[in-house]
């Protein structure tokens, strides 16, 4: 069974590039401020969530394992 993810967005960094919304459209959506918001952490496979986090030009997306707290993105030293 897929692990549960905790996904957080740093709104001081998010510029609304829309990359995450296009990459994992069932997880991320634009809010009325046209910044990213998480609508359903389980909406797309983990692989797409991580691709969205990688794709963010602002490193604004943080992903961890909701059960163990293990940091999945960004890698250490890059946040």
């Amino acid at each position: 069974m897929a692990r549960r993810l905790r996904i957080a967005i740093d709104y001081d960094r998010c510029v609304g590039s829309g990359i995450c919304v296009l990459t994992a459209p069932h997880v991320f959506e634009f809010n009325d401020q046209r910044q990213s918001s998480v609508i359903d952490p389980t909406g797309d496979p983990e692989e797409l969530v991580l691709e969205a986090a990688h794709g963010c030009p602002q490193m604004a997306i943080f992903v961890e394992d909701a059960d163990t707290g293990e940091r999945l993105f960004p890698p250490p030293g890059l946040e």
Binding site: V15, G16, I19, C56, Q58
Partner: protein, 402 residues
């Protein structure tokens, strides 16, 4: 209302921030008669204009075409055809398709693997001048670093770099509006023509002999058929080479001026190299390489209490937003520890600079090395002159000593 309302007045070119501040306080969405468009200077409004791509288009060619006579349109058809495929001048859905295709190559984690090589290039460039005790920072350093980095990443051979840079500069004439150049559109088209002729055989070569470079990656996207047409591939090569040049040079030069003029901040960085990441963000905010970026209203709309008409041109003044006291505490102070630092130096919204992660990396490595190798660097006692443009904050020369 404003005594001096000229984006290209000598004192505004030399130091635009007092003019920006006055606009921001007195008339934040301001009709500038001389330029013929709206100047948007508050952070919140700038962000609105840049986020709302449905109301504000980035399609510069559509508006240029309207200004041209039919004869000019014919004469400049090559320029119009290719520039209308440059990511910076396009709206969704084209923009979305191409941006998503090349975004992967420019993400923070992707460019991070270039860091050792960037460090090496910085080191080589500084070693060449170290014994001299002085340099013209732009010509000796800031100009070369981004050219070498983007050329290697894209796959332009070292022996062609200088030539490609020249053509790229010619191409850019149309954007960095230098009022005194009546033939800049023609020159721009000639530069572009050279670049296109240059990239054709490189693309042909990569088709037969794939390499580990961006041209190969783009060629492979083209070969899959539905992703990228041949013209789009050529347009993308030219925009990447162009965009990887001048702006990073100006980030480095403006950043060095800011740091050397705020000695306490320079010493803070010198003694705490780990501050280099927030320091680069602050340099981008304080005196970034791009003063402003254009948009066109797609419908009649309202902004900051002003009625904007369909087709009106808008200047989102990044340099003004980045000093907005509504968003930043003590905005006119340079504080390399400032966090968070949600500046808009790279723009905002879907057009957020594709190369931002690479520019950040280059600037981090440059300022790290400069502060460690030339801890006593200072500006030489020479006048500093900026190019007369609306968009770029670009020094002509920058002499430094150590």
């Amino acid at each position: 209302m404003l005594v001096q309302d000229d984006l290209l007045a000598p004192e505004v070119v030399a130091d635009p921030y007092p003019y920006f501040a006055r606009l921001r306080e007195e008339d934040p969405v301001h009709w500038n008669q001389r330029w013929g468009g709206w100047l948007v200077t508050r952070y919140e409004d700038v962000v609105t204009v840049l986020r709302d791509y449905e109301r504000f288009s980035a399609d510069r060619m559509a508006s240029l075409v309207l200004e041209l006579t039919p004869e000019d349109r014919d004469r400049l058809s090559l320029l119009i055809n290719y520039f209308s495929k440059w990511l910076v001048f396009t709206d969704p859905p084209y923009h979305t398709r191409v941006r998503m295709l090349i975004n992967k190559a420019f993400t923070p984690t992707s460019v991070e693997r270039l860091r050792p090589r960037v460090r090496e290039i910085v080191d080589e460039l500084l070693s060449e001048v170290a014994h001299r005790g002085h340099m013209e920072f732009i010509h000796d350093f800031a100009f070369h670093l981004p050219v070498i980095v983007i050329s290697e990443y894209l796959g332009v051979p070292p022996e062609d770099r200088e030539q490609v840079k020249e053509w790229s500069d010619e191409t850019s004439r149309i954007f960095f509006i230098r009022a005194d150049e009546p033939d800049r559109r023609e020159r721009s088209q000639r530069g572009l023509q050279h670049l296109l002729e240059y990239f054709e055989p490189l693309i042909y070569d990569r088709r037969r002999h794939p390499k580990d470079d961006l041209i190969t990656a783009l060629v492979q996207a083209e070969e899959r058929g539905d992703l990228l047409s041949h013209e789009e591939l050529l347009a993308t090569c030219t925009v990447l080479i162009f965009a990887g040049h001048e702006t990073t040079t100006n980030l480095l030069a403006n950043g060095l001026v800011a740091l050397t003029e705020h000695r306490d901040q320079w010493e803070l960085l010198r003694d705490n190299p780990s501050l280099v990441r927030p320091a680069v963000e602050e340099l981008l905010r304080y005196d970034g390489p791009v003063k402003a970026t254009f948009r066109w209203a797609k419908t009649d709309t309202e902004l900051g209490g002003k009625t904007i008409r369909e087709g009106d041109r808008m200047l989102a003044v990044l340099g003004a937003a980045n000093r907005d006291p509504r968003k930043f505490q003590n905005p006119d102070d340079l504080d390399i520890t400032r966090t968070p630092n949600p500046h808009v130096a790279f723009g905002h919204g879907i057009h957020i600079c594709l190369g931002a992660p690479l520019a950040r990396l280059e600037a981090q490595e440059a300022f790290l090395a400069l502060s460690q190798r030339f801890p006593n660097i200072r500006l030489a006692d020479r006048p500093r002159e900026y190019h007369r443009t609306i968009v770029a904050r670009a020094l002509k020369e920058l002499w430094v000593e150590w």
